[in-house]
């Protein structure tokens, strides 16, 4: 299963970036093998508006089923929901911690955005 985790760094030891659309990096991780790909989010990070929408569309293209992040705004949530991507928005610690937490089934998936737009 491929999942996306917003990250402050480019490795699995890095900390989860609580922001989604404006995260420094997004790691696309295979939860079975722990192989991962680093998605550069620079362009979105500095976007004037619509960062969450773009990030959501990009991770959808990567074929992920789940997103682990900290905060997810209304436009991002709407896009993720349309893409059928489940969102856990209380991820924290390192990327590996978050993945373990996910594999242990400890995340509750969101049913709505948890911050306002342009947060």
């Amino acid at each position: 299963m491929k999942i996306a985790v917003t990250s402050k760094g480019k490795t699995l030891d890095a900390e989860v970036d609580p922001r989604f659309g404006r995260a420094a990096h997004i790691l696309i991780v295979d939860t079975d093998t722990l192989e991962f790909e680093v998605m550069d989010n620079t362009e979105n990070k500095d976007a004037f508006k619509g960062a969450g929408i773009q990030a959501a569309a990009s991770i959808c293209d990567k074929g992920v089923g789940v997103l682990l992040t900290g905060f997810c705004g209304p436009n991002a949530y709407k896009t993720l929901e349309a893409a059928g991507i489940k969102v856990a928005n209380d991820a924290a610690g390192t990327i590996l911690n978050a993945i373990d937490h996910y594999k242990a089934g400890k995340f509750e998936f969101a049913t709505a955005a948890n911050v306002d737009g342009h947060w």
Binding site: G50, A57, C60, N75, T79, A82
Partner: protein, 291 residues
């Protein structure tokens, strides 16, 4: 001639200058309040409104039956207003700048325009109490609550400019797109500032903007006497003429609080605003000669 009145910092006195100046210009005058998020010139001029029109900007509507999810619409949109995910197309009207790019590029002709109302324009005229003969044409824009796209409303307000007479534009504060929309194409930008660190900081940004637009400009220092002399030193250094100073005067503040013009409570200001207008005319003529 178009004179756009801007400031950088909000609350420095753009509307005060715009409304008083409009009443003192001997030529036919039109006042356009382009602060469409918070227009307030009408509070001082109490126009008779005779016209009302909607400001409409199109947004895309996607025909799912025709769409092949090629993502070209998403790729061309600079504002992220259209997203294609998992065989669904989402549109975000509040991000759309109505450029029509998505519609033009769609190879399946699956996108058509749908109207959305951004706000309204009200038009009318003013007979200033201070002058029996004069009639000022007036227009302002009012952006609907929840909308964020001010420039199309400002551009539509500006269609009410009188090409033969003098048009005064009361611009919004700041230096972003709405301000550019209110300054672009003006013959002169009058920058109203206050002699405070905040006033100077935002004035500096406004001056940079006006320089990029290459429009001749001058300063009005409002609430002169408070703060410090840094604005004047800046004006000297940048060679920006200080065309008028309005003192920090309780009488002016009291009049303002009642929605009255300075020229009503202190009639001697009529002469000062007329001189301001003459100075602007001279500077505009000088620039035209250079060109």
């Amino acid at each position: 001639m178009i004179i756009s009145i801007a400031s950088g910092k909000g609350g420095t006195g753009k509307t005060t200058v715009a409304t008083n100046l409009s009443c003192c210009i001997p030529e036919p005058t039109t006042l356009l309040d382009c602060d469409v998020e918070e227009p307030n010139s009408h509070l001082f001029l109490t126009p008779n409104f005779t016209g009302r029109e909607n400001v409409i900007a199109p947004i895309p509507e996607v025909d799912d039956a025709k769409c092949t999810y090629c993502k070209r619409c998403m790729d061309i949109c600079r504002f992220g207003a259209i997203a294609v995910v998992a065989k669904k197309v989402l549109t975000f009207p509040e991000l759309c700048h109505s450029c029509g790019g998505c519609m033009a590029i769609c190879p399946e002709d699956a996108i058509r325009e749908k109207d959305r109302v951004l706000g309204i324009i009200e038009t009318g005229f003013v007979h200033p109490k201070t002058d029996n003969g004069k009639k000022i044409q007036f227009a302002h824009g009012l952006m609907d609550i929840g909308q964020v796209m001010a420039p199309p409303i400002i551009r539509q307000v500006r269609t009410h400019a009188d090409p033969k007479g003098v048009t005064i534009i009361d611009a919004p504060p700041g230096t972003s797109c709405p301000v550019i929309a209110a300054m672009k194409g003006a013959d002169f930008v009058l920058l109203v500032t206050e002699p405070t660190p905040f006033g100077l900081h935002d004035l500096t940004l406004a001056v940079e903007t006006v320089k990029i637009l290459d429009i001749p400009h001058g300063l009005v220092i409002n609430r002169a006497g408070m703060g410090n002399d840094d604005v004047k030193a800046y004006a000297r250094k940048e060679k920006i003429p200080v065309l008028m100073e309005i003192p920090f005067d309780r009488k002016i503040a009291a009049a303002y609080s009642k929605g009255e013009l300075i020229i009503s409570c202190l009639p001697e200001y009529k002469e000062k605003f007329l001189r301001l207008y003459d100075d602007i005319k001279t500077l505009v003529a000088q620039r035209r000669q250079v060109r």
